[in-house]
Symmetry: C2
Subunit: 408 residues, 2 copies
């Protein structure tokens, strides 16, 4: 059961001028569900993305990186059910064949198509079904919605993930709409996730490339379910330029910061939705690390806590076994950490200071916070003024069940 | 249920001349169980150890490090049930008070005592019970056995762990006997573990210090249950010198290598026993990494596989979801890894080569290997001639259950 994950309000999802969406039910893994999504961009749109750092990255990731270099992207095609990763030269040929077929049907060049896949690793794509499904997805372009698009990219997600805002950028009102999928193999840089955000803001492709990294670092790269970095993670931002404001062509343009804020306003709820729907999650945990010498060491501490199976099972059990959090801080990799300066709080309860249990701490207070579905762990390192947050979920029986049964 | 963990054969455990053992039931956490162990060394014994790298290391670890510097250690005192970690200045005072009391009872200096604790973190030691128990443990010294000692240091271990060999060192027959405890928060450098090995071999304290590091690196630092580095890990080697051979006083002495081999002969089965008894373990997994440029990168790959919750749940399910292993290799942190050169085998079955599924691979072959309780994962990196092994277990419902319930 997802943790306080509000179902997508389809009426809230704003269409983005210059973007059309089409889905199809191709039976790639399971019959009858939407499993192909095609995103069509008007010519002249900017697009940029960040991808998994996994060396065994999926074939479609390789093709995306190549085609993005050439620019003028017109179509994105996403399939769920099969990740096309660990599939060698044949997998690469399959990803190319997907682009070829979509290009043939839409009369663009194959290099103007970006392919994406998610699902089981090390199995070949069922190319007959996939290619047969493309025409259906294209036929759906006049009617397709962001809500359907969000459904078409789900794997073990229990709910679809989509979010939309309006914002002011360069004195114009722009729209930003995004979709994402989780829900396991979620880890910063990147999560096993696909994320697509589109906006009608106007920005040059080169500047969008910097922006997408900043947005990912503030959202999808701050979440972790299980510490596994997937082979397929991709996060793309599309900017169609239809909002009509002056083109953003520099990181120093004040509108750049405005657009960044607007994109993060969509990316962060999507990232949080992935955690709320983390495999087997029963708690949504914010790890807030303050007082570091720099953001990197705050991140180390945040991730050590967020990755620890012992910490995560204690959260599942609502057991204020807070020593496990101290242990994680201790092994996070800050060699000169003075543990006597560290303060640890759980919600509003100070748990530990001076290297031990806080004098004021009472077990029942810790217990009260641990029973909540939304928990804030605050670590004050007492070394400086940097801070950051990481989001994770607990580790339950169901995580094991879902991942033990995933392929069956 | 532990995986093929043979119960300790108490008759097989060789006494070590110069070492006496005493245990007591002090009711530190649970009534009626042995929970204190005192190890007495004859004057002139050498002792050296390696300890956790966790910054929140337990109070007894701090005291051990201090006292070891001074040398001439005569007693080790171990309690289970409470780790005395995350206990600040009070915890440090408790560890000192434990040494003080044992020193008073045995008429040695407090600095000649090394204290060790294992159990729940961030709770104070029940000093009244602990101190009251010391006299009982001392009274037991004439009769205490290695088998009882192994039982006295268990926490969530389902079986005690002890092992013993004879070996030839410097043309003499020596004895080596060791005990260890696991069973969660197990991670290289070091496991949540306590390990004590004693031998009657003769070696200078300075040279023993190098030797204990080498032995740990070949055994306890190659195992992982959950990737959590505990606050209390300690591994000690005692050498009483009673075997009567010429003192080993250099790493270049051929007897040094003989003694190292003998110690590893005991340390490795103890390390494996910790994995076989890993919390919730149903499979014993050897990750063998070959063809690396150096041992460090082999270790990175081995640990990435051994730590992955997704890989470990797949092993639990006997599901040859081998793409998860490829993904772990891919994110292990070898930036220039050429995945086309990587070969992955499961037992005798070649699973992957040329970046994808091996042409010869059949799912039923993978399934057959995955169903076994002892599984060898072999990764050939194709980059060089270094190799190493890492041992781990699978990740089951029971891991979650044990760690969710641990304090209750």
């Amino acid at each position: 059961m997802p943790v306080n994950l509000v179902p997508v309000d389809h009426n809230q999802l704003k269409p983005i001028a210059g973007v059309r969406l089409g889905t199809a039910r191709a039976g790639i893994r399971k019959p009858g569900r939407r499993d192909i999504l095609v995103i069509e961009l008007e010519s002249g749109s900017a697009i940029a993305g960040v991808f998994t750092t996994n060396r065994f990255c999926a074939a479609p990731v390789l093709v995306c990186r190549e085609n993005l270099e050439l620019g003028d992207i017109r179509y994105l095609v996403v399939n769920t059910g099969c990740a096309n990763a660990g599939t060698g030269q044949e997998g690469l040929a399959d990803a190319h064949a997907t682009c070829d077929e979509l290009a043939r049907l839409t009369d663009v060049h194959s290099q103007q198509v970006l392919p994406f896949s998610t699902g089981v690793i090390m199995e070949r794509l069922p190319m007959d079904k996939l290619l047969a499904g493309l025409a259906g997805a294209l036929a759906d372009l006049p009617n397709g919605t962001w809500g359907e698009a969000a459904e078409a990219i789900m794997t073990t997600d229990t709910q679809s993930k989509a979010y939309s805002v309006n914002a002011r950028v360069a004195n114009s009102t722009i729209s930003v709409t995004g979709i994402a999928k989780g829900a396991g193999m979620i880890h910063p840089n990147m999560a096993t996730m696909l994320g697509y955000i589109a906006t009608d803001a106007a920005i040059t492709p080169g500047v969008l490339k910097s922006l997408v990294k900043e947005v990912a670092d503030a959202s999808f790269n701050r979440i972790t379910v299980d510490g596994d970095t997937s082979t397929n993670d991709s996060f793309m931002v599309i900017a169609t330029g239809k909002a009509g404001h002056a083109m953003i062509n520099s990181e120093r343009d004040p509108a750049y910061a405005e657009l960044r804020a607007a994109l993060i306003q969509v990316a962060l709820p999507l990232a949080h939705a992935i955690i709320r729907d983390g495999e087997g999650a029963t708690k949504f945990i914010t790890v807030q690390v303050e007082g570091g010498k720099n953001i990197e060491e705050c991140l180390k501490v945040g991730k050590a806590i967020a990755h620890s199976p012992l910490v995560k099972t204690a959260f599942f059990a609502s057991d204020p076994n807070l020593g496990r959090i101290l242990a994680a801080i201790g092994y996070a990799g800050i060699p000169d950490l003075d543990v006597a300066q560290v303060r640890l709080s759980l919600g509003d309860v100070l748990v530990s200071e001076h290297g031990g249990r806080a004098a004021s701490y009472r077990e029942e207070d810790g217990q009260r916070v641990m029973k909540e579905a939304e928990i804030v762990v605050k670590v004050e390192l007492g070394r400086g003024s940097s801070s950051t947050s990481v989001w994770t979920c607990d580790f339950s029986y169901d995580y094991v069940k879902i991942n033990a049964d995933y392929r069956s």
